[in-house]
Amino acid sequence: MSVQSMMKITPIMSVALVFLFGSCSMGHRESGPQPSAESKPSAGTLEIVKREGRVIVGIGQEAAPYGYRQKGELVGFDVDIARAVAKKLQAYAERPVVLEFRAVTDETRIGWVQSGEVHMALCHINITRRRDARIDFTVPYGWDGKGILYRTVDGKRALSWFAGKTVGFKRASSSEGEIQDYFSAQGWELPRLKQFDNHAAGIQALIDGQIDGFTDDSSIVINTAMLAGRKVGPDGELAITDTLYANAQYGIGVSENNSRWRDTLNYCLHDLWESGEFMAIYNKWFGPRSMCPLPLGSNRMEPFVKG
């Protein structure tokens, strides 16, 4: 390498290093125990919300029935829960709290909570241990399971049928790890997994025969298929396996070590449960008259005793 080209590369390297170290040290400061900067998430998001009178919520916009567009409006279970929680939050913040949405995607929902860019995120986030290592979760406010959607043309399928078959999953979802864990625990051959950018694309690929099954949270998969005009069920065009390979619990994502904020959100959810508002919202989206009923079963919130 000539001296001249070395000279050319040196400034590039130095800038790259500044970038790298800059972001490293910033990351360190963020997670460190210094209580200096007031608007850092470590200062307690509750205090920030109290001071600013606004709560910033990361909201998903691409998954029915949690957050999607209906006749142009942003609607969904997560959207309604976010609005209800923000209303309950006013009692704990002791002042009016303005709700602000920031749109997040499956790729950014965890990172933005981690960095504090959003105070909390409702984007059908499954509570998993791996995610819990990066952010914290409130108590579950939604329950679902994960099965595999398949074409009914060739009859009913059990989970074991998908061993060695091609199964699609949604990018940045936890299904990928869970399906592999389940299949290897059963001693079955692992399915060949194929990643899709969005649910609609995966379901279209399934209908076209490009993949044998498509998986993600059952409620999202079924609702997306039904919104796409497909009939889902034993007598429909598509069906979902009876057995589920994983449970899904939805939690509100909050930043790590932010105990008072997490408590407050838990109390808000509990208040919603006790006042019956939660069930009203739940029934709107998952009740018997909804598009795709999902009975609560034995799932319930267990509010802490006051006193």
């Binding site: 050319k8 040196t10 400034p11 590039i12 130095s14 800038v15 790259a16 970038f19 972001s23 910033m26 963020e30 900067a37 608007s39 850092k40 910033i56 919520v57 916009q61 691409e62 998954a63 029915a64 999607y68 567009r69 209906q70 142009g72 409006e73 942003l74 959207v79 609005r83 709700l99 602000e100 949405f101 920031r102 749109a103 997040v104 995607t105 790729e107 950014t108 990172g111 960095s115 504090g116 860019e117 950018d197 969005n198 649910h199 609609a200 694309a201 279209q204 997306t224 919104l227 796409a228 005009g229």
Partner: protein
């Protein structure tokens, strides 16, 4: 949903819910979506990116030249040149997706500043366009034969006259097709913004598919068409008009110029 309605949604996007509006910023920028937002981001990024690119190219070209400066002067100009090269090389070296993620992440990390998506998007693509503009401009000026500059000097033209009368017109002609290429590239690359939920065309298309019983292939084709049509229009209508540049190249002979052109366009 009729085809017309479909086009309308892809053109204006979905309305942002009231909770998403930030009163500190103009409502117009926060309300638009779809293809119109894609176009606004493209035009604004190119508008900001062009002066930025000129500045960067100028820094890389001018700073560090001139032998009669003091030691400190040389050090400063070398610093400016390195900074400009560093910026250009870093931005060109990053995948556009990473650049977008960085620009969306760092303002909050560094300054606790939450800006609406469109402003961050324009920032990211201005950096992107600026870095590539700088390279296009630099290669354009390098394509001007030294002999012509020399003959200008022999004729006794002042440096400014040489720049305005010889370098700039010739360089501009050489650059023009690359400018259009860059504009089309920026326009198409804005689709990466779907990852950070900026409601541009790709994201709107994704939302549309998630909410309505539509023919998947049809929507995909429509989105493709909406990306393809403006890009095609621009390149087919504007490129023939730059044949001045092409003639100029033929005049000088392809071999000499194409070396520079390949260098510039390989990265565009």
């Amino acid at each position: 949903m009729t085809l017309w309605e479909l086009f309308r949604v892809l053109w204006v996007g979905y309305p942002a819910p009231p909770e998403m509006m930030d009163p500190a910023f103009p409502v117009f920028f926060q309300r638009i979506g779809g293809l119109s937002l894609t176009l606004v981001i493209t035009v604004m990024s190119l508008g900001i990116g062009f002066p930025l690119g000129c500045l960067l190219a100028l820094c890389r070209r001018e700073a560090g030249e001139g032998g009669r400066r003091s030691f400190v002067g040389r050090l400063v100009s070398r610093g400016i040149r390195s900074a400009a090269s560093g910026f250009v090389e870093v931005v060109r070296g990053l995948p556009i997706m990473l650049l977008v993620l960085l620009v969306f992440h760092l303002p909050y990390r560094v300054a606790q500043w939450r800006a609406p998506g469109i402003i961050l998007a324009v920032t990211a693509f201005s950096f992107y366009a600026g870095a590539y503009f700088a390279e296009v401009i630099r290669s354009g000026f390098r394509a001007v034969p030294q002999g012509l500059i020399g003959s200008g000097q022999v004729l006794g033209l002042r440096p400014m006259q040489i720049f305005m009368k010889i370098e700039l017109p010739l360089a501009l002609r050489a650059m023009l097709p690359d400018f259009i290429n860059l504009a089309v590239t920026v326009f198409k690359d804005t689709s990466t913004l779907a990852v950070v939920a900026v409601a541009e065309l790709t994201y709107t298309g994704r939302q549309l598919l998630m909410s309505q019983p539509l023919n998947y292939g049809l929507v995909l084709l429509l989105v493709l068409f909406l990306y393809w049509a403006p890009a095609c229009l621009v390149s087919s209508m504007l490129v023939p008009r730059c044949d001045g540049g092409v003639k100029f190249r033929n005049f000088l002979g392809w071999r000499m110029l194409s070396r520079n052109r390949v260098k510039a366009s390989a990265n565009v």
